[in-house]
Symmetry: C2
Subunit: 272 residues, 2 copies
Amino acid sequence: MPQTSASATPSGAAPDAPVTAPVTAAVIVIGNEILSGRTRDANLPYLANRLNELGIRLAEARVVRDETAAIVAAVNELRLRCDYVFTSGGIGPTHDDITAAAVAEAFGTVLERNAEAVRRLEDHYEPGQLNAARLTMADLPVGAALIDNPVSAAPGFRLGNVYVLAGVPVILQAMFETLAGGLAGGAPMVSRTVSSYLTEGTVANAVAAVQRAHPEVEIGSYPFLRRGRLGTSLVVRGPDPGRVDAAAEALIAVVRTLGGEPLAEPVDPIGG
Amino acid sequence: MPQTSASATPSGAAPDAPVTAPVTAAVIVIGNEILSGRTRDANLPYLANRLNELGIRLAEARVVRDETAAIVAAVNELRLRCDYVFTSGGIGPTHDDITAAAVAEAFGTVLERNAEAVRRLEDHYEPGQLNAARLTMADLPVGAALIDNPVSAAPGFRLGNVYVLAGVPVILQAMFETLAGGLAGGAPMVSRTVSSYLTEGTVANAVAAVQRAHPEVEIGSYPFLRRGRLGTSLVVRGPDPGRVDAAAEALIAVVRTLGGEPLAEPVDPIGG
């Protein structure tokens, strides 16, 4: 599935320096409880961090309601655009667990009772506990491949490039880790942060110039407020540690030239 | 903008009970730092909670990269589908602050230097501090209306039904609160939670029956793990407290019938 395409090399690039398209992913968090503000999602931060470590670029994330049409639309838009799609939530035995049916619909297929999923449920439950409601968890899209669930019995599955995971964070994480070794990523992104008490408006032009001179890294600028003082964290990210370091050193020089001093302990960007 | 349409009454509904379409919103969080896992977003939980309090239904949320095409696509898809769209991030003076230009492009218009925004920046900065980079924050889409920013100088703005807010949570929150009184919402949603140590598979069928008998509320089912025991939190939500109570009482009866006991302190659903 992941596209590592030497054919994407721009004309003019040296043949010994093929450009590799980044491997990309999208996350779809399914659940009204997140959108109502009642529950704070923990799965997006986890997946974002792990995908980054695996060298997979998280291109977009969505939070959608427990509604078939919303899930179908998000799955179909993102699975065509990204190498991997991970969904979280909606695979339990209750009436609001509609993810499997929605993913089947997105792929133009239907649910069938998956024999291997039934077998695993039978292993998991005490005799007599595997009732009709629990058995519905084994109704998976035709063609689905089971994802191991080391924690509970709810079957996650893969269909095409869409990985359907549980919503409970501890289960989602365990499921993801059974997959992680098999995902095709690129070089992990590394980052360095340069923080100072210079404000964004002071550093903006010089930082833009550093970004232009170092196009192979991504420089983000994030204001912070600390001990009553405004400052800026400049975050350099890229797959090549040497290039990240070079850009970070250029930013340190910029800060000093403008009369600032890089903080010994960088300030992490704050939420949002 | 908000559509409260008596014309949406389904045929057959009593004429004295007009159906009001819920007022809906979408949130677009803009920022690579969220997608890289480096920063945990705080703006979506805040907006989700406040919109819920205002009786506005958050229909979807997206996190997109600091890329014009990604922002344009999200803005254009969601502004046609929802009454309100709120964006977070990307309105500062640095090279990665591209939200205003992207929103202009989404609306088929261009940026112009906004005289009132310039005036407010001049008020905010000490003489000599309003440099060229900071002035670019006053370049807003033609037709934009300023949103007050009680914290810093970065101008947020409204264009059509799209509200462009800062990414720093304290600033986003202050901006949102200047708007909140003017947003047309519906009845605030209220909720009740019934938690017990019955598992989802045990309660699933009976809860589905309660949902069918109480279609005017939304019942969510969320497993939890507490002190080594699995349980289920059933969350009833709706705009009418009486109907929410009636459904919650029905769920309490279900739990007792199945041999469980509602916990005195409900367990909040966990993330994801």
